[in-house]
């Protein structure tokens, strides 16, 4: 039997798979280097979203899942900590994605400088022109 939550979650995952396919199409088949960079950022974001979906936790018996931040730490109450452990989402994919986004920005900046260098030498950012000019 299909529940509404599962259907919506499946829509989310299918949309992400379609985004991944579109971004891969952009990276592989678009000849323009700037378009390739844009598609590469979308590809990286979509891959990060998959990591977050793996770490997500559905609601446990009607209790909403919560971010992995133990906000009641001042109370020093082990029971609240137990409830937190049983309802919070997985923090590990979030910690990995966090550094992945910043490193992705640095790598994209490197690619932007490479594209700028290609423009200075060939006066074109189109792969077909660059291939023709320098065989």
């Amino acid at each position: 039997m299909i529940t509404l939550s599962e259907y919506f979650m499946t829509i989310l995952i299918t949309c992400m798979i379609v985004n991944l396919g579109l971004a891969l199409y952009g990276v592989f088949f678009k000849p323009n280097l700037i378009k390739k960079i844009i598609a590469l950022t979308i590809l990286g974001d979509t891959a990060n979203t998959f990591a977050l979906i793996i770490g997500y936790r559905m609601w446990v018996a009607g209790v909403p899942s919560r971010p992995p931040v133990f906000t009641e730490w001042r109370s020093n109450n082990p029971l609240l900590l137990f409830v937190f452990t049983k309802t919070a989402v997985d923090p590990l994919p979030q910690a990995l994605v966090l550094t992945a986004i910043v490193i992705g920005l640095a790598v994209t900046l490197f690619l932007v400088f490479l594209t700028l260098q290609a423009w200075k030498i060939y006066r074109s950012v189109d792969m077909r022109d660059i291939r023709r000019l320098k065989g």
Binding site: L12, C15, N19, L22, Y25, I42, Q94, L109, V125
Partner: protein, 87 residues
């Protein structure tokens, strides 16, 4: 079955469908400046999806990077190179 969860995930699924539209437009658009703006729209929707997936940390790093810095850098690159993508 909890309707609250279905409601929140339904909003997330709707946002995901809009993100697919934005991605499609960003990949297929010939004008690179418009493509960057569609990519920024897609990033905004992704930030909302991350918020619904209970990841506030990712949101805080994703909004400045993907909505602020990526478009700024790529628009600077477009300004120095060309705006039109040749068919």
């Amino acid at each position: 079955m909890s309707y609250g969860e279905a409601f929140l995930l339904g909003i997330t699924a709707l946002a995901a469908i809009f993100s697919t539209i934005a991605t499609y437009m960003a990949i297929m658009e010939r004008d690179l400046l418009k493509a960057v703006i569609f990519s920024a729209i897609q990033s905004t929707i992704y930030a909302f999806i991350y918020y619904m997936l209970m990841a506030p940390d990712i949101d805080l790093v994703y909004i400045p990077v993907a909505v602020g810095l990526y478009p700024a850098v790529i628009i600077a690159l477009i300004k120095k190179t060309t705006r039109e993508e040749k068919p």
